[in-house]
């Protein structure tokens, strides 16, 4: 606390290694994340974060970071499949991306120092609100 200015983060994240987990569980998380991502057009983090936290016992913040990285190859596969069907609106996506890259920096910087339990609670409330809005759509 006293030498806080020299610390890299006020709340350092636990380390993570592939060797600590069975390949079957890692495969299950990846495949389920991939199926959900393709099926619903989301990153797949909605299912990968809970699985990484509740099933593999990974710290909440580290799970969010792992999910974001896993989304990279998963979304590429989804884009290729939807793209082959001619469903991707490139102009709309490009406009979203311009804003999202700025926003992602802000969000990721905040994630690096946040309380993981508070984040989990906020994440849960956020998901319920999105679910309610989906049902309320005309």
């Amino acid at each position: 606390m006293a030498n806080g200015s020299t610390l890299p983060s006020p709340n350092p994240a636990p380390s993570l290694s592939l060797r600590d987990f069975s390949i079957a569980r890692i495969t299950a998380v990846g495949v389920l994340g991939g199926v959900l991502s393709g099926l619903l057009g989301v990153g797949g983090g909605v299912i990968m974060v809970p699985l990484l936290v509740l099933w593999l016992g990974i710290d909440q913040r580290v799970a969010h970071a792992a999910s974001l990285g896993a989304i990279i190859p998963i979304s590429v596969a989804g884009i290729a499949t939807y793209g082959a069907a001619g469903e991707v609106d490139v102009a709309v996506a490009a406009a979203l991306i311009v804003g999202a890259i700025a926003g992602a920096r802000l969000g990721a910087i905040a994630l690096a120092g946040i309380d993981p339990h508070r984040l989990q609670a906020v994440f849960g409330v956020f998901l319920v609100l999105v679910a309610a809005s989906m049902v309320a759509l005309p």
């Binding site: 990846g30 994340g33 393709g38 989301v42 909605v46 990285g69 469903e87 969000g107 759509l137």
Partner: protein
């Protein structure tokens, strides 16, 4: 594309990107409803376009988190590469399904996971660090 639509998309991109970086979910859960409701895309087109917007968001957030020592890139990419076949199968299934079926399944799933995460997070906060 009108100037207003362009401005709206960029602004919403900032919100979705920040939520994505903070919550680790890529922003698609926000982007898909927005594209259907406000931009008027079909459910299929919204999902396809969402995935394209999610990709750079995930890359930027991953680079920042790596620099700050949160997570392990090798672990992330192994999980993601194992998910490629699943993503192709899921996308093909979505394209074959009626759009209203997709939407209801999505909402039910999100509510179930969201309630569980909110409950666990609150319980842990009450118990202390």
């Amino acid at each position: 594309m009108t100037v207003w639509l362009l401005a709206g998309l960029v602004t919403f991109g900032v919100v979705a990107g920040a939520g994505a970086g903070l919550l680790g979910i890529g922003g698609g859960t926000l982007i898909v409803p927005f594209l259907v409701l406000s931009v008027g895309l079909t459910q299929h087109a919204a999902q396809a376009t969402s995935l394209l917007a999610v990709l750079p968001t995930a890359i930027v957030a991953t680079v920042i988190l790596q620099r700050r020592g949160v997570g392990d890139l090798r672990f992330s990419l192994v999980v993601g590469c194992l998910g490629i076949a699943g993503a192709i199968a899921g996308s093909a299934l979505a394209l074959a399904l009626p759009e209203d079926v997709l939407r209801v399944a999505f909402a039910v799933f999100l509510a179930a996971i969201g309630l569980r995460m909110a409950r666990d997070g609150r319980r842990a906060m009450r118990a202390g660090p």
